[in-house]
Each structure stands twice: as C-alpha cells, then as structure tokens.
Symmetry: C2
Subunit: 715 residues, 2 copies
Amino acid sequence: MANRILSLSNALVSNPTSDVVIDGKAYNTETEPKQVLLRERANASFDVRELTHYLNGGPENTAITERIMTSIERDPLFHNDDFYDLSKDQLRAQTFARVAALSRYIDPEKQALTNQRFSIVGIADTSVVTRAGVHFGLFLRSIRTNGTDEQYKYWVNQGATTLKRFYGCFGMTEMGHGSNVQGLETTATFDPETDEFVIDTPHLGATKWWIGGAAHSATHSVVFARLISNGKDYGTKPFVVQLRSIPDFSLQPGVAIGDIGKKMGRDGIDNGWIQFTHVRIPRSNLLQRYVKVDAKGNVTQPPAAQQLGYAALVDGRVTMVNDSFQSSKRFLTIALRYAAVRRQFGSDPKDKGETRILDYPHHQRRLLPRLALTYAMNAAAFSVSELQTEAANALKNVDVTDKAAFKAAIDESKELFSVSAGLKAFTTWATSATIDECRQACGGHGYSGYSGFGQGYNDWVVMCTWEGDNNVLTLSTGRSLIQSNLAIRKRNANSTTKIPNAIAYLVRSEQLKGVKLGGRSLTDPKVLVEAWESIAASTINHATDAYERELAKNGGNVELAFETVSQRRFEAATVHTKLYLVASFVNRIEATATPAVKSILTDLAVLLGLWLLEADLAKFLQCGFITTEQSETVSDLVDSYNAKIRTQAIPLTDAFNLSDYFINSGLGNYDGDVYNHYFSRVVRRSADGSTSSNKKDARPEYFERITSKFLFRED
Amino acid sequence: MANRILSLSNALVSNPTSDVVIDGKAYNTETEPKQVLLRERANASFDVRELTHYLNGGPENTAITERIMTSIERDPLFHNDDFYDLSKDQLRAQTFARVAALSRYIDPEKQALTNQRFSIVGIADTSVVTRAGVHFGLFLRSIRTNGTDEQYKYWVNQGATTLKRFYGCFGMTEMGHGSNVQGLETTATFDPETDEFVIDTPHLGATKWWIGGAAHSATHSVVFARLISNGKDYGTKPFVVQLRSIPDFSLQPGVAIGDIGKKMGRDGIDNGWIQFTHVRIPRSNLLQRYVKVDAKGNVTQPPAAQQLGYAALVDGRVTMVNDSFQSSKRFLTIALRYAAVRRQFGSDPKDKGETRILDYPHHQRRLLPRLALTYAMNAAAFSVSELQTEAANALKNVDVTDKAAFKAAIDESKELFSVSAGLKAFTTWATSATIDECRQACGGHGYSGYSGFGQGYNDWVVMCTWEGDNNVLTLSTGRSLIQSNLAIRKRNANSTTKIPNAIAYLVRSEQLKGVKLGGRSLTDPKVLVEAWESIAASTINHATDAYERELAKNGGNVELAFETVSQRRFEAATVHTKLYLVASFVNRIEATATPAVKSILTDLAVLLGLWLLEADLAKFLQCGFITTEQSETVSDLVDSYNAKIRTQAIPLTDAFNLSDYFINSGLGNYDGDVYNHYFSRVVRRSADGSTSSNKKDARPEYFERITSKFLFRED
C-alpha cells in the first residue's frame, strides 16, 4: 500500500503539464500565478504611482479619491461578498439602505465632490448610484433648472435636499414615448375655476414607465406633461406632483403605481409605472423659470425654452464618459491579470509548460487596444467636462428675455450637446464591447457569476439606451456636424465669429483634402491626429455634399434629406468622435504628463490611433491619405505596438488603482492567485446556505420531489 | 363639474400625438399597433407558407416541426409565463423536471428526430436542452464512439439510454484547462496489483470544473484523465467513473462535488466541480475502442487516436449553426414586429403622427441585414449538416489498424473540422450581436426582463465559449486554410486528388487574382459569390505568403510562424466563412426555392452579400476587385436593398413560424398588440405574489426596516 502511494506520487511529479520552473523553483497550475504577477510588476518601465496621479488629475485628487474609496470599502453596509447571489428583492432593499447611507455624504453645493463619490461607488454597485442619482441628479436638478429660485427654495424646505419626509423621482419617459420628449401624451390641463392643473394619463400608451424610485421610494415626482390651457396645447412642461402621502406612504387619490419588475440588470433600482387619473395640483407646481401661466390661464414662454428644459440630461451624458472609463478599467484589470497567469497550449522556450495567454499576439489584440482606449476615455472625460463647465458658466446668469444674449448662450451649449452626444454613445458602446471581450477572454470562467462580467454587463448596457439612445444621439451629432459644416462653408473668409474648438479642423477642409501620409510615420502622434482630422473632414464633407444633393432632389425637405443620408450622418459622427478621442488623449499627454509616464502614454495613444485606423481602413484608402501598399503595413504596426504594451500590461492595470473590493471578481485579485480566490468564492457561496442548492448534501433540494421519482422509477 | 370633465375630454381629443388615422378611423398609441401589423401582412409579395417549407426543408418537415412544437406548447410543465422571474434554484428544479419529460421522447437510434426536438425546445428553454444534451449528447456519444461495442452494450444495460438508475455527465474541462484537452492534469494511474485505475486530482488547478449534471444529477461521469502506466504518461483518455451511490445519491468514497453556483445565464443547468482523491475503478472502465491496456499495464493505441476521441465535440459545433438560426429568428421577430408598430419622432406624410421606427433607414440597417444573415444561416446549417453526414459515413466502419484507410477517413473529416469550426464561431458571435442589436432596437423596453432579450442574451453567449472557444476555433480554421493552400500550391497540375468543395476556389487563386467588378452589377448573386471568392482567395494567399516569410525568417519554427501571423489567420478564416455563408445561401436558393419565394430569397442573399462587403470594403479595395469610385456606391446599394426588404419584413418574420409561446416576449406577439401584452405581463408579475415586491401595497416589504427609519427619521 505504501508502495502504491509512492508510485502514484512519482507519477504525479512526472506529469509534464503541472510543472513550471520559475527562478529554479517548481510550481503547478495552482501555485504559479502569484509568482508570475510579481515578475510582471518587476518589469514596469514607468512610475506606477505617477501614472495614477496623471489619471486622477494630480496627487491631490488621488488623495481625495483614495479617501472616498476607503470610506466605502470600510462600511459594512457596502460589503459585496454576496453581491452576485442576491435576488431582485434583496438587491432592492440593500440598495435603498445604501442610498440612505450615501445621501449623508451629499452636499448639493459641492457638486464636484458628489460626482466623484458617485463615480467611485458606481464601480462597486451601479444601482445605488442610479437610484440616488434619480433624486439628486434628475429630480433636484430639474427643480433647480426649471423652477424659479423661490420654487427651488420651497421644495428644499419640503425636504428635497435632505431626503427628510421627501424623495423625488423623474416622471419623463412614457410607455409610448422615450426619445421624443415633445411627443409625450400625459396631459396637464389648467382649470381656472380652481387655479389647478389636472394631470391625466389619457390611455395605456401614456403610462409613465421606467420611473426609477416610483415603485418603492418616491413621495413626489417631476412629471413631464403637455400643458393645455384654454384648449391650446403648449407642449411638454415639468410639474411637481405628490405621489404618496406622508408618512404612511399610501398612494394619493388618482395615482396608480406598480413595479416594472425584472430587468436585464440593475435590479436594485425600483423602476415603476405611474398612471394619473385626473390628479389635481396647485398652479404653483408648474416649474416656472421658463414658462409662466397666470390665474386666467394665459401662457408666456421665451423662445427656445424647450431646449433649456432638458439641460439636466446633458450632465448625465458628460458623466457617462467618465463612467465608461471607470467601468472599462475594472474589467480590463480582471481580464489582463487573468491573461497574464493563465496558460493554455503552445510552448514558450523561456518557461517550461504552456504559453501564458497574454503572450499570444491574438490575445493581445483583443485586450491591449482596449486598454489604450480606456486611457483615452480618461482624457476625453476631462476634456468634455471642461467644455461643460464653460457652457454652464455661459448659461448661468443669462437673461432669458434678452434675445441676443440668450441666443449666444444657447450657441455656446451647442458644441457641448454635439460633442457629449457623440462621446456618450461611442464610449458607452465601447465599454459594452470591452466588458464582453474581457469576459470572453477569460474563457469559461468569464461566464461564472463570480467573475463579475455577467452582472457587470447586464448592469452596464442600459447606458447605451437611457439618457439619449446611442443611435439617436449619434445621428443627432451627425446632423449637427453637417449643419456646422454648412455654416463654415458659407462663412466669409474674413469672419471673426468663433468656431468651436472641436470642429475647428473643418475650416481647413480644403487643405486637409490634399494631405497624404507620404514618407511620414504613422507612429508619430501628430501624424495620427492629422490622419484623423483628414478622414473626419473628408467623411463630414461627403455627408454634407450628399445632404445637399438630396435637398436639391427632394425640393428642400430638410427632414427627408437628413433621413436619406442617415448612414452618412452616423459615419460622420463616429469618425469625428474617434478624432476627438485621439486628439484629446494626445493633447492631455502633452499638457499634463510628467517625464516618468510620458513615454508609455504616448505608446498607448499611438496604439489607439493605429487600431482605430485599421478598423476604418477603407475610408483612409478612399480619401487617398494612404496608398494600398502603405495600408498593408497597418496591421503589423498594430501588432508591434501590442507587443510593446504587453510588457507593461500589468503595471498599466495597477495604475488604475482599484483595490480587490472594487474589482470584486474571483479572477482579478491584485495578487494574481486566481484559482484559490475563485475556488473559495464558489465553495463559500454554495456552502453558507445563502444559496439553497447543494450545501453539504449531494442531493438537490428537489431530490425526493423530482429526481428520485424519475431516476428510481419502478415502471 | 360636468362641464370640467367635458372640457378635459376635449383637450384630450385635441392632443395631436395621440391620434393616428388608419382607413378613416382614429387610433392612439395603445389601440393602433394591431391595425398596423394587419396592413403589413396584406403587403406580402410572396407565399409565406411556402417560405416556411423552404426553411424547414420541405412541407413534410414543417409538419413534423409543428407537431413537436404543439406537443411542447401544450405540456403544462413547459409553460413559461413565469420564466423571467424564476430564481436559480427554481430554474434548477424546473429544468430537471423538464429533462425527465423530454427524455421520454428520446430514442438514441433516431438521432435526427432527437436533434429536431432539442433544437425546438431550445428556442423556449436553452437550459433544458443543454442539461439533457450533456447526458444524451456528450456522455452517451462518448461511450459509443470511444467505447467498444461491448462496452456500449454494458453501459446501456446499466441504464445509460433509459435514464433509469443512471445519469451521465462529461468530465472533461478542468479549472486550469479548457481548450487544451491534451494538457488536462487529472491522472488515471494503472495499478496492476488490483487491475484498477486510480483516478486522482493532483492539485486545485486540476479540479474538474463546469461539469453540467455533476452538482445535482449525475450518477456517473466520463472522466478525461492522463493514462499513466508503468511510470509512462500516455496522454488524455476517457474513463467511466461512478460519482454517486444508487439510489441514496450520496457521494462515492474519494469523490468530492460542489455546485459551481451563479452563472451569467443558464442557471437551470447544475454545473458542478469534482475532485477525485485516489478513486479506484476497474480496468474495464477505460473506454477502449482506440486505446487498450492489458493486465500488465501494456498500452497499445493506433496513430491519431486522439483526434477520434474528441469527435463528439464536432457534432455540437454543427448543431450550433442551426441553433444560431433558431435563436436569431426568435429575437429578430420580436424586434421587427416592435419596430413596425413603434412610432417615434418625425413625420410620415402618409399617416398623421410620428414615423414608425422601421421606416427609418438607420433602423432598417440595424435589423434587416441581420434578417438576411439569419436566412443565410439556415442554408449554411443544411450545408454543413450534409458535410457531417458524409464525414460520419466515411469514419463509420473504418478499420483503425489499416493505416491507409484510416488516414483517408481522417482526411475526409478535416474539411468538416475546418468548416464547422469557422461557422460555429461566426454564427454564434453573429447571433450574440443580433440579440444585442435587437434589444437596443427596442429601446428601453428591450431592457425589461419581459422582453426576453436579457435572459436570451445571457443564456446564449456561452455558445461563443464552450465546445471550442470561438477565437481558438477561428484561428484553427485559419491554420488549416493555410495548410490546405500550401498543399494546393505544391499540387501537380495533373493531380487527381480530390480537393474538398469548400476550398475548391483556392485552386483558381491565380485566375481570381485578376478578377475585377468592371461593368458588372454587385446586385447579381453570381457576381457577389465571385467577389467573395476573390477576396477570400486573396486574404488566404496573403496569409500563406506571410506564414512562409515568417518560417524562412525564424529558421523553420512552424508554431512560431503560425503565432506571428495569427491576425492574418483570423482574417482568412473569417472571410472564408463569409464566403461559405453567401455561397451556400445562393446555392440553396438555386437548388430548392420554388418560384413563389425565389425572388424574395434572392433579394435577401444580395443584401447579405453587400452588407458583408461594405464591412470588409478595405479588402476589396486592396485587392483591386472594386475601384475607389465603385466603392462609394456600396452603402447606397445596401440602403436600397434595405428599403426593398423593409416592405416584406413582417411576412419574412411570419415565415419563421414561431408561435407566441416560443417568442415569449411582451414585445413580440403575433398580433402586434405590444403595449397591452407588455403591460399585462408586468402587472401580472408584480401582482401574483411570485415576486414579493409591491403586490397591492405601495410600500416595499422593507418599508419599516429601512425606508421609514430613514425618510421619517427624527434627528
């Protein structure tokens, strides 16, 4: 017997696939990974801490970020060990408790700090941020921007900033209308007899739908409804409507609310539907900064009041560029750490055993350009956020009755609208694709609930739909690019009107048309930016020409012409946004990167520019920027930059500075000890009774009821 | 008061967005959709029933399909009204009950009928099919193909075909090894003293992982382990190991099993992990068709025995091409019906009110080429299935000791391996993208659990990873294309060796190099097939050249050369697979379409060919098949074919012949009454108590515990 055990151990030791020698010591599949990550980190060519500061916008911001992270991570209420096993109902309850905790940190006067905390909490639990954001972002902001100063004060006194005896939701979307807010069908009919508005849901399609906070939390809602006075329809306006009585929480008369139920993700958010049956509210509940109704039902509103009313949504879009960065960095950290330690197939002459999958050129292609994109999204988030601050300042104190001043402020916002729409769409889509690619890059284990990818994807992808559907937004950016380009074409050469920075290159369209790569190198960041300017200008000009052709053909029907060229609009917006990403990354490196990190960041920028160029190669060939022969080398250049970045991949994920708490994945811990962490998560979940299956019984709970009756049947 | 109500109703009637007039009658958002689908169907230009027969492969198959569908739909056990609200544990139990019901229909001798039933059940519930498939597909098939006839008979006598006192699982994948089966680390060491094998898990990384059926169901497993005899490692072989005792279901000594827990999807499958600690099995439990071990531990095996051992996996890949068709057709039906009735923005001169979203050219682009692709996948599924039958017949009675005959049979299988690997990867990826696009095309409602997309996506995407990771498979097809191309290049011009059909065009490489579009039309299916042949030949030849350059450069290291050109391998395989799809669609139309449906099918084939060409435009420009000027027209051609197909979109989904039961979505019912169906699903789910939230109380269940304590706090 002893003999037999001995011979079996010998057999085990001789198993060639389980032995890998690192620095003279033998490791197997289980014991090797930690050693591998140590070696990866020893090869860092740059200062990791310095790169973290670059990403945060300076060491002071790193300190603030880390303080916020620590406060969340330490709070037992935010512990996420069981996160992937919670039911919808458990998530709903936990999320509200977290919203309550989070709300104590929020000072509406310190928006930047609130945004920062939300952005960080969102990495660990997206539902909490959305559920709190519905009140603090959508509800409160629309009271502030659409209400008069007195109205804002009034609702603050009711508890709107402290969440005391008050919780707001945002009643915009209806079953039949999402993107087209002007088409909403809920009515608010003024009744001069009682000085009230009557809010009504005329039919099923007008039911308010997806309203976050409505199902379980809200006492009040901003309701978007058609203002009807003296038989005339004035379009969609915001009204404050009380939904539940305080404090017993029963529904107000005429208010019907239900739970939307199961969603693809974000089950922590209590989305609900609301139907109003002739619900009466005082006239003063119309938010009256931009529209006024007097006691007789006379309505006055300034021109372009509509646009201003939806300004709250633009903030969300800007935030989502940064969210894209935050989310991408988490999932890439998991997939890259896993890829650095996972071995499969092949033979690496330096090590015994199989090849680590990150050493395969194809695997590098799947992940490393997306790592470069993530760094670029960080730069773009800073850039669009500056744009937002400028636009907000311009609008802040504008006198809406001064036509000229009002138009100037609106114009100032247009660049922000166009840039943020295109970026929101591109970055949220790119992040969906990144999460999916990262999951697949972890093979079967990526499909495990405890890798975090499934829940992460399901929670994320709604970002592509809400606050402006990505397709609608991209087409709208395309439309605005054609309009701007037409204006630039008609512009007098001596004009001094300011052209927004983001489209300034369109003024140089003629010059860019002749630009060729020639003998220059595609790995020069300046050449890459020019390449993207040239292709963006060419695509937008082609779209503009096509639009004008259609317009001439159809007798001046603007809407029809824009629809007919929708594919060109879509392409124009996408290429323009890619240019914005590449250029803002290159500019930010130039402006803020210290010598210790400049070289690695430049490599990332070049990789991104090349990778995007490769995907749009046909356009570069069509406009003659590169020749067919030059085009044949692009893929090899991408490969070579991937090989370069590969050596720095682990330090580049370390610079993201996410602790294991925020990573929350069996596959992505800092120490790289993948198999042990993953196994202990799986065993813990199936053993502690929080899932009923298995536990310490090899028979399922339905054994007598189903299994035994079938497998051990008599007939 | 009466007056007030009257004036309110007037206001309502005058709301411009709620009135749409069809044939003189006014409808609103809620009442219109049913009318719209009636009009869409009246416009069908082809015989819908005839097209259903085409898709099924003749009216006889339609009859069989419909009988199977009816038998499932009528069975109360298969009712899916609550499908999207079930917990993991509920799904596990329901799935096993359904497996038991399904198994009564299975006759292992009637494989085609079994496949057909599985394929149909899989549209409604993917987990059931997988859970049953693990036993009937993987376990049973590996006993039959790897075991001798006597071994197969033995296990059948134990209950392996009737599932009586027996349930099998497939113990291949380990924590540390998925794709590389040769690298598995579980050991099976022969002990001549007792004439037994000792199965052992040497360390954590060798734990069997993802084993469907292991957690709750299996009494036995085929375990893939390294055969070690007299100190020598013979590589991975299959052994039958008993896991649980019968009938008490407790674990056998030395067997440890746990539940894998939460997954991204398919929670109805009881995936488990297994660790063996010196588990002893009789020598006869080694499946010995291709490998034999005598009582002294002498091992004999024919050459290439390895390849034959994994043949079971190829069947799965072939099936998954058809699964891709089945799944895509379901989700496209939902998204297209919704798009036909949903209005948003714009203005259609024919109707009052907003534009139906399917009338937007951009929306057509998102869905209609994917509809064409779905029809093409149907044709490709038939084609690869024929290939499979031929290859199986060749292998069936081969004498493994006859070297020449054995090699011929293996060669016959190579085409099947290469084609099915590329197709499995392409079609399962395409289907993931289709489900995602369909979800986004339904806007916010696509994110509702009751639309079916979320669960559908989560259940589907594992198809891209299991039974051959899509990236690994695509690269392997690329490798085999380069190898075949090298053989063709070296081939004597007078050789009579048969070239497999799928790569026959490579023989014409030189001729295809010179082919240009010239004055011909890209809307001619024959021209499109030639275009794709030309581009595939060019891509494969470029890849082959690059491989030979690398080989020369690195001194003949084949593995290194293949890795270095992996991006080119990937491209070669993808383009080759696109050609296969376009060509098999065109061929099938030619061979089987009746005049009543040939025209619409041809339009679909052209749309597909053009849409794929547009995405690969750079390649067509690089090889000179089209000029820059010609390339500018491709997008407009795609647009015009989309506009053509749009008029037939609803009849084209009707031809898929899926009842509301199989659609199982609030948005996709046959009658188009979207808002009512969707609303009633949501209300029913939140009212019947199967979800604890809301019910008939406006307060959540955690109101006292969390909400009230926070909102109505005293401090």
